[in-house]
Symmetry: C2
């Protein structure tokens, strides 16, 4: 098994005459304008099998609330992703609720009687066929994934994009001796949580030596668990509603992200119990989850369709660089870099 | 004017036999437990003159909603802080509203008729005596501040704390030659937005060469403005309700942070207009602000009292290190570092 780029030379990647290096040139477009101008070919359809449609009870005004979650592709967290599809197909999630909303942290949903300090009944039995995952699966040591023939190029591209996001002018960097290139690249790609962070197949990830893992950014969906060695089944899920709790990386499985309807989870009333759980007196604040379906199981006319901006496209590199160095009219001082969690991978609904 | 530490030698700071270096030793306490065990002497009273009490209209259930904001001390943003006290004392904020809630970004309040794409009336006249601040005031070049006699020690302490937060074992570091110490320290203190980030007088700040500025973390309060050269008067304020938008650092004035009642601002319904403004049809969602008072102007019996954990205390260093390397029972893999915005300065209400 081969491993991703840091073991190889970052300098090699920099020597590539990628069109992405154009991105380092000044431009006055806002990141959103760069995305709006992306050619159709830069957008990648998300398989319906990777979309979960979660229907919450209507809001206080009677308006429907639908949340769409994109599940993560291989090589990350596929055992838990398998379980989540299984829970959805067993209709196990139907009738559960949002039980915990902790400000600047997470909104969590599951069986209100499972491992909840405020439980009032018996937990729901789990479906058959769940995989039991080990802690080693929180990370991957290699990006061997079927259907990704240009892996090497993608890995080199992740480096370029990461450097642009770190505010590095890759053209100037290419002029340095190879050893200096590698040192500068390593230093620029680091953040407080990893030796490097970048993007692959539409997802943010971080790495340290030969280990790689997805990152706990706003809107990411993870699997609640008990104390180690428990790793969670997928019955309890949460999404990040505050500053990225990156200390959870490598400690909990991430399985996806909310791509539509995030406000239905982020604007819920905070729970006043420990860890933001709703107390017994606040049980009325639990938001009922009416159903969760895998989009591919819905009738064709009801299937939502989404696409993401390829993180391997030149447009994405230009977008990341523009986020790191805002030059659109409101800004007077470009930051010179961007946190991985501030470079949101653009996702859009495809019109019918 | 002297400048803060990076111009001086970071190595010098490391040579100090600070008790804080104890913090690098393993401990199984959670960060919250470390704070709970802090001696009373480590807590610093917040002057009532630095507290704003903002009363929102009661919620849908008729429950009161109060938000307490701590204003920033010198040397940061004092012109805008002056204006904000002036607006509060002129009762100018009474009767304004929350007009914008953009998911994963900001909640903003002000005159609904001022520079609002959905305005329906004339803007409210501003009070007399407002200072007009320049863009140079977004940053400071020095920490000359009255009442801080131990500035040098505090600056050295900020370095130690920053290194602990970056996951650096300062005891091992002290064994390195001085040049290597300085290099390692510089590299460890950097993040994607600055050459270093640390804490002073209870506040997070970042720096680059000889410039320092407060950081846009969750719950921080800033001053809305128009296009440059406008820098905002303080009539329009916002707080961060998502992942830290650090690209706003050095582009907008930060003036304080929400220290109580954040959930009343973070869980409001998101606006569906441009930038999260409530549209004209959603005008009913604007949350009225009944009053904003400087706490020192309230009758003594109504004045809230708060204190923060001194960021110059050994307890704070231990706390920062524990956040960077979680060893409490839930965690299996310590992160090895922490983002400045994930090290929340502990603030608590003082019981009557």
């Amino acid at each position: 098994m081969r491993t991703l780029l840091l073991a190889a030379s970052a300098a090699l990647a920099l020597a590539l005459p990628l069109a992405a290096q154009e991105a380092a040139k000044p431009a006055a477009l806002a990141p959103s304008e760069i995305v709006a101008a992306a050619p159709k070919a830069d957008w990648v359809a998300i398989p319906a099998e990777d979309l979960l449609v979660m229907t919450l009870a209507p809001d206080a005004e009677g308006k429907p609330r639908t949340v769409v979650i994109q599940l993560m592709p291989a090589p990350f967290s596929q055992g838990w992703v398998h379980n989540i599809r299984l829970f959805a197909r067993a209709k196990w999630y139907d009738g559960i609720s949002v039980n915990r909303v902790q400000d600047n942290y997470v909104t969590q949903w599951g069986d209100p009687n499972y491992d909840n300090p405020e439980a009032t009944g018996k937990p729901k039995p789990l479906p058959e066929g769940l995989k039991v995952m080990g802690e080693a699966e929180y990370t991957v040591s290699s990006f061997v994934s079927p259907g990704t023939p240009n892996r090497a190029e993608r890995q080199q591209f992740a480096t370029i994009t990461g450097l642009l996001a770190a505010g590095v002018n890759v053209e100037s960097l290419a002029a340095l001796p190879e050893v200096e290139q590698a040192k500068t690249a390593r230093s620029a790609l680091a953040d407080r949580y990893s030796l490097f962070s970048a993007f692959t197949q539409g997802w943010p990830f971080a790495g340290r030596e030969e280990e790689f893992w997805p990152t706990h950014c706003y809107g990411m969906v993870g699997v609640g668990r008990n104390y180690s060695p428990d790793t969670g089944s997928g019955a309890e899920l949460y999404t990040v509603i505050g500053h990225a709790p990156r200390h959870l990386d490598r400690n909990i499985a991430l399985v996806g992200r909310v791509i539509e309807g995030m406000q239905h989870l982020s604007s819920l009333p905070r729970g006043s119990g420990d860890l933001g759980f709703y107390t017994a007196e606040e049980a009325g604040k639990r938001t009922p989850i009416l159903s969760v379906r895998v989009a591919s199981d819905l009738p064709a006319a009801e299937q939502p369709a989404f696409e993401y901006l390829s993180t391997e496209s030149d447009t994405f590199a230009t977008y990341a660089e523009a986020i790191a160095n805002r030059r659109d009219p409101f800004f007077i001082t470009p930051a010179g870099g961007a946190d991985i969690c501030n470079i949101r991978v653009p996702v859009r609904r495809v019109a019918d």
